[in-house]
């Protein structure tokens, strides 16, 4: 643990820490472009120069290890001039097309110019070297070579993280240009990260291009609902519309990366939403008020129980639901309805891509949570069997789809049940067939916890209130339970989580506070964390 001094402040850092990281730990920002905590050190942008006592030349702080007694200054005239000088050189060939650049507002050049530059240009416009703009290089990425500051982060990412090496530098000196090899576009499942790590507007995301100025966006800390890995994201929104996911650093889960499919998961919260309760009678769908919809649903469930016993009612839970919601679903099934038919399926239609990095075959964020709460896939199989044998008179199903069933299979199965109520966010075959549709809030509109494949319990936060007439699932489930005489009193997801932690062993001792921003492993957390 060497002790060193920086700008007069003294601190101790672990052996081998570079000055740049050491400074960051004590709140001193050293400007940099090429350095990235999850990539190898390139040392080529030359922005992070600092003065180190006993070194005649300025040193790059990203590649200089802190040693005992080292004296570092980042605030001298010499450093200031050097940094401004590098920035000026970085900008001489830059097109400065900020008004039409998606990066504007979160651009490394803009930010550092305001902090360290503010110089007048000494370079004539006509002397600028021009390079290719607006190139679709594959994946989610558009390249503007002219905006590139040649920091090499993209090259290193593709070499070190995906191992696919699609990008390289071409030419030399001020004609150096970043690009793909001719005819060989980006070909990996993590291309979106390139736009995140690119410190400027050279690599932008096709999906987000020209959609929204970043300064209009607010952000909620969330979890990607796209698979069981539970990558930490920032869900960026304006009003009640989500615009993008960006990875949120969590070294235990996704470091600072996100897969391409997951990056587009935000769209689920925008598109094909169920926004009003609907009651379908004699083939006629009628928009209903919540009271009426809950009343009707509860009534039909009670009728089935009274006429055919509780085992004529089935509940299918969803691995898209939070731990809190699943806890209440199980409570509803076991304690209120008292049916043995409760289950969930982790299967989903379509190809279930998987790799040895982030992407998991299970395309749900909370299958492990369901399992830890005692809801089983075996229960789902039993339930489906009971349905096909015509033994189920009323079905309460959560989620927008049923396992990996096609639309046809779903409709055929449900036709065997006299009453189907669905609680879900998005339209589909199920919502078109159900007798009662109870619209629920998207992951961006509610809060809770998911348990990832490795048993890590992580929180997701609401960004904005539910759209339309959609309601938080907790309210819907509690509403139904209370209509059936349960007398539950839960005020929000945190109170549900408290009850859950008291009764469900894997979660015992946990609280929202102890889970924090980065999550916590459940006891008995299922398979040991496998992902890198």
């Amino acid at each position: 643990m060497p002790t060193f001094t920086i700008n007069g402040m003294t601190a101790s850092v672990p052996d081998g820490t570079m000055i740049l990281e050491a400074a960051r730990q004590i709140g001193i920002e050293i400007p940099h472009y090429c350095y990235h905590p999850k990539l190898s050190i390139a040392g080529n942008c030359r922005m992070c120069l600092v003065e180190v006592e006993k070194f005649p030349k300025l040193q790059i702080s990203c590649n200089t290890v802190v040693t005992e007694g080292m004296v570092v200054r980042t605030d001298t005239e010499k450093v200031r001039k050097a940094v401004t000088g590098v920035l000026e050189l970085m900008l001489i060939h830059h097109p400065i097309d900020c008004p039409i650049c998606d990066q504007a507002g979160e651009c490394g050049l803009q930010n550092y110019y305001m902090k360290f530059g503010l110089h007048k240009s000494r370079y004539a416009l006509e002397e600028k070297v021009h390079k290719k703009k607006v190139q679709d290089i594959g994946g989610q990425i558009v390249l503007d070579a002219e905006r590139c500051i040649l920091c090499s982060r993209c090259v290193r990412f593709l070499r070190e993280v995906t191992g696919t090496c699609e990008m390289e530098f071409f030419s030399r000196s001020d004609h150096s240009e970043i690009s793909i090899f001719p005819g060989r576009p980006l070909n990996n499942n993590y291309t979106g990260n390139l736009a995140d790590i690119c410190p400027v507007g050279a690599l932008t995301n096709k999906d987000f291009r020209f959609k929204c100025r970043v300064w209009f966006l607010k952000s909620a800390d969330s979890i990607c609902p796209g698979c069981a890995n539970g990558c930490n994201v920032m869900a960026d929104f304006k009003g009640d519309i989500l615009y993008r996911f960006r990875p949120r650093r969590n070294d235990a889960v996704n470091r600072t990366w996100l897969c391409d499919a997951g990056r587009l998961e935000y769209k689920k919260a925008n598109d094909y939403r169920l926004l009003t309760p609907v009651i379908r009678e004699a083939g006629q769908a009628i928009a209903a008020a919540w009271d009426a919809a809950l009343f009707t649903t509860a009534l039909r469930l009670r009728e089935a129980i009274e006429a055919h016993g509780p085992e004529s009612v089935a509940v299918i839970a969803s691995p898209q639901s939070s731990n809190e919601e699943l806890f209440l679903v199980r409570k509803l099934a076991a304690e209120v309805v008292r049916t043995p038919y409760l289950g969930f399926s982790s299967l989903t239609p379509g190809r279930r891509l998987e790799d040895d990095f982030l992407i998991k075959a299970d395309k749900n964020p909370n299958s492990q949570g369901a399992r830890l709460l005692g809801i089983t896939e075996e229960g789902f199989v039993r339930t489906v069997k009971a349905i096909s044998e015509g033994r189920i008179r009323a079905l309460l199903v959560f989620g927008s789809g049923l396992a990996d069933f096609s639309d046809g299979e779903t409709v055929a199965l449900l036709s065997r049940v006299p009453f189907v109520a669905q609680v879900a966010t998005n339209e589909g075959a199920l919502s078109r067939a159900a007798h009662a549709v109870l619209p629920s809030a998207s992951f961006a509109e509610r809060g809770g916890t998911f348990t990832n494949f490795a048993g890590r319990v992580q929180r997701f936060q609401p960004g904005f209130p539910p759209r339309g007439k959609a309601k938080n699932d907790i309210e819907v489930i509690a509403g139904l339970a209370n209509q059936l005489g349960a007398g539950w009193k839960f005020a929000g997801e945190e109170s549900v989580f408290r009850a859950l932690a008291e009764t469900a062993r894997p979660f015992s001792g946990m609280s929202y506070e102890s889970i924090g921003d980065l999550g916590r492993e459940a006891r008995d957390g299922g398979p040991p964390s496998g992902g890198r």
């Binding site: 040392g43 942008c45 030359r46 030349k57 590649n63 050189l89 090499s152 390289e168 150096s176």
Partner: protein, 422 residues
């Protein structure tokens, strides 16, 4: 005076192994095998053999940087890229005395327990590469390379690798990348090549001339070699003189020779009795000297005192009537073309300097351009991964400091006073 390298260069057959052996070649290798390895390194250290590639690092000291443990193989790389403008000495060694280099390689490799050596040779040196390859084949055939060399039990393989014509691939870490088949980008240090070099292995990079001096040192002793030069700069140097002199060429001279003697005695002075205007002493990257500064010996310390260096021994003579702005413009275009493009200050700065100097020469210089050049230089110097940026800055600064009035006149007159047109 005594010569180390060029003694038999006049004999065309010297480049063949038989003639080389007739003249006593490979006797140093035999002698080396009978010495303890440390003794050889010690002699090289005593010889004050300074690297001839430009930086002048003491060879014996460099060899000592290899890790002591022999668990990982180590590599010797011969820098035969000879890209520094004004330098053409290694070419002489390779085409006239290739076995000097091969014998030096064998001795150095033996002394450092190295079993693979790469000769990285400048892409444009097609003829030299061919001669080197033939010489290497001859050496294998005669048992000076390969398995169990001269019955010593020591084995060594030598590979001739041709570059592709980039100046930057002469910088040792860029050279290593290029050798590995990667883009010729210099590496950040640390780690230094002696710990992590070619193919991730401990590596020593030495210039052709540096290694070619080694057989003589082994035969005659380090102290004898040291005495051929001056303090801290042992031996002779191959000095290449170019420009309008009567006898341009490569001369093997003591490091104690005066630059004036190099130009006027050995190279025969300027053609047509012209006056000397300026001289670049050690390859294009070294700061230029005025005629009143040439009474300086050709060693690192003396040159250092007047703000320049003997570099790679490429003396470029600039006569009266030549335009210094034009000369600088040529150099700046070179560096702007050869920057690898990795570091911001060098990538952007070299091109910017070339543009400003170019427009001054063109009669389109602006007021403040000279200050601008100096300020851009200041923002480049010492701020990069490799010294190429410094190599561009040193001529720029020194040309302006020493010949400023020519720059001023170009700007004031809006034309080249020497009538140059681009």
């Amino acid at each position: 005076m005594e010569t180390v390298l060029t003694t038999h260069f006049a004999d065309e057959r010297y480049r063949h192994v038989d003639t080389y052996v007739q003249y006593g070649g490979y006797s140093a290798l035999r002698k080396a095998f009978s010495c303890p390895k440390e003794r050889i390194v010690e002699e090289v250290r005593k010889a004050n053999l300074r690297g001839r590639g430009g930086a002048g690092f003491p060879a014996g000291v460099k060899w000592g940087f290899l890790p002591k443990d022999l668990s990982r193989p180590r590599i010797l790389v011969i820098n035969a890229d000879e890209g520094e403008p004004g330098t053409f000495k290694d070419r002489q060694i390779m085409s006239r005395g290739p076995h000097l280099l091969i014998e030096g390689i064998a001795i150095a490799s033996y002394a450092m327990t190295i079993h693979s050596t790469y000769i990285y040779i400048r892409g444009e040196f097609v003829r030299e590469a061919k001669i080197m390859e033939e010489a290497v084949a001859e050496a294998y055939a005669k048992g000076f390379l390969g398995k169990n060399i001269l019955g010593s039990g020591f084995h060594l393989d030598v590979y001739v690798h041709r570059g592709a014509g980039a100046y930057i691939c002469g910088e040792e870490t860029s050279l290593i990348n290029s050798l590995e088949g990667k883009r010729g980008w210099p590496r950040i240090k640390p780690p230094f090549p002696a710990s992590v070099g070619a193919f991730g292995l401990p590596t020593i990079v030495n210039n052709v001339e540096t290694i070619a001096d080694v057989p003589w040192i082994v035969n005659n002793g380090g102290e004898k070699f040291a005495s051929l030069g001056v303090e801290k700069n042992g031996g002779t140097r191959l000095i290449g003189v170019s420009g309008p002199v009567n006898r341009p060429g490569v001369y093997e001279l003591s490091a104690g020779v005066l630059l004036r003697e190099v130009i006027y005695t050995h190279a025969g002075g300027l053609k047509d009795g012209k006056q000397l205007k300026a001289v670049i002493p050690g390859g294009s990257s070294t700061p230029v000297l005025r005629p009143d500064e040439i009474d300086v010996t050709f060693d690192i310390e003396s040159m250092g005192k007047i703000g320049t260096m003997p570099g790679s021994g490429g003396v470029i003579v600039i006569p009266e009537g030549a335009c210094m702005v034009r000369a600088l413009s040529v150099l700046m275009n070179f560096y702007a073309h050869e920057s690898c493009g990795q570091c911001t200050p060098c990538r952007e700065g070299t091109g910017w300097l070339a543009k400003i100097v170019g427009r001054i020469e063109n009669g389109q210089g602006r007021e403040g351009d000279i200050e601008l050049i100096l300020d851009v230089c200041d923002n480049m110097m010492g701020r990069t991964i490799c010294p190429l940026a410094d190599a561009a800055v040193m001529p720029a600064q020194s040309f302006i400091w020493k010949f400023r009035e020519e720059f001023d006149r170009h700007i004031a007159d809006k034309k080249c006073p020497f009538g140059n047109k681009f």
